[in-house]
């Protein structure tokens, strides 16, 4: 039975599939390269995208503990449990640990799967509901959140592609 739930899931899978293609083959140096001292690098951006997916889906919408904490991803990656990326300074981005992108993507895989599960679990009536996003200190409508996830995550994908393009050139 087709529904408007489908384009949302299709979009979620599209940006995630494209992200994996876009980071393919980048060296650890390329992953940490910044075009200037205030820019985010690819590794930070991918990690932040995974954290965004986990936080919106599991913590904010479903009201559960983040996978980051529940399955020990913070510990595996050697980062604080509350580290998330929003509002970080250029110094924090620069000092980001050179973690294995494979491990970050393993975390993102489970976060992405949980996002798709969250979409399936929502009833139409849930889209009118507000949930409290503690880290933003505001109540947000679930229907707004779904559109926002697609817009935010895809923007970051566009930035990853842009940074790759700056290093490798057109289609490189």
């Amino acid at each position: 039975m087709p529904s408007f739930r489908d384009p949302i899931k299709s979009g979620l899978n599209e940006y995630y599939g494209k992200l994996k293609q876009t980071v393919e083959g980048l060296t650890p140096e390329e992953l940490l390269w910044q075009p200037n001292s205030e820019s985010n690098h690819v590794l930070w951006t991918v990690w932040h995208m995974a954290r965004v997916a986990d936080r919106w889906a599991n913590s904010t919408v479903l009201g559960n503990e983040e996978l980051w904490i529940r399955y020990g991803w913070a510990e595996k990656l050697g980062m604080p449990t509350d580290k998330y990326g929003r509002g970080e300074t250029p110094e924090q981005v620069r000092d980001f640990p050179s973690v294995d992108i494979g491990l970050v993507l393993e975390y993102y895989d489970v976060a992405h799967a949980s996002m798709l599960g969250m979409i399936d679990a929502l009833e139409q009536s849930d889209l009118d509901r507000d949930v409290f996003a503690a880290y933003r200190n505001e109540s947000l409508n679930i229907g707004w959140i779904l559109g926002h996830i697609l817009a935010e995550e895809s923007q970051h994908l566009g930035q990853v592609a842009y940074i790759r393009g700056m290093q490798r050139g057109f289609d490189g």
Binding site: F4, S10, G11, Q124, G147, G158, Y162, F170
Partner: protein, 170 residues
């Protein structure tokens, strides 16, 4: 009453509103700046975003004329590209004429009004409809998801280019 359809429209509203914020106050030179010879300028990206939405929704889903053609926007803007920018070379991007940004934004707003009318006129069952061109078939469901992802990606690039020019949060 919220719905998944509204969630899609919310995402579209978000990326267009944010795009307007990201180009606010940029000079003509900044709008045409390229990070390197192969990089797209902000002006090109804004035009491409509007054309992409127009083409996917007003042409391909609605099966009607694009706002670009119906509104005579090629003549109004002086942009003579015969496509929406897909697959253009670096030379094509560099050769884009100076365009009035308020005109481009007006065109994008017209595209958006038409696109929302098209989306309002669709229902759940329509999501399985298939659009075919050049031997490639995609569902309307794929198209709507793709529009959100592609447009937002380009917004991210506009924001990144602005950051390279102006620095963080400027």
């Amino acid at each position: 009453m919220g719905s998944f359809k509204d969630a899609i429209k919310n995402g579209m509203t978000e990326y267009l509103d944010e795009l307007k914020q990201k180009i606010d106050g940029l000079t003509d030179a900044e709008l045409r700046w390229q990070a390197n010879l192969d990089a797209n300028s902000i002006q090109w990206l804004v035009w491409h975003m509007a054309r992409v939405e127009d083409s996917w929704i007003n042409n391909n889903i609605a099966g009607g004329e694009s706002v670009w053609d119906a509104g005579g926007w090629a003549a109004k803007t002086g942009i003579t590209y015969d496509n929406s920018g897909y697959g253009q070379s670096s030379d094509d991007v560099r050769a884009m004429p100076d365009v009035s940004m308020p005109d481009l934004v007006k065109y994008y707003e017209d595209v958006r009004s038409a696109a929302f009318k098209v989306i309002d006129g669709t229902n759940d069952e329509d999501m399985d409809n298939v659009f075919t061109r050049g031997g490639r078939s995609v569902t309307w469901s794929w198209i709507l998801g793709h529009v959100l992802v592609e447009e937002s990606q380009h917004l991210g690039q506009v924001a990144f280019a602005r950051g390279l020019i102006r620095g963080l949060n400027n």
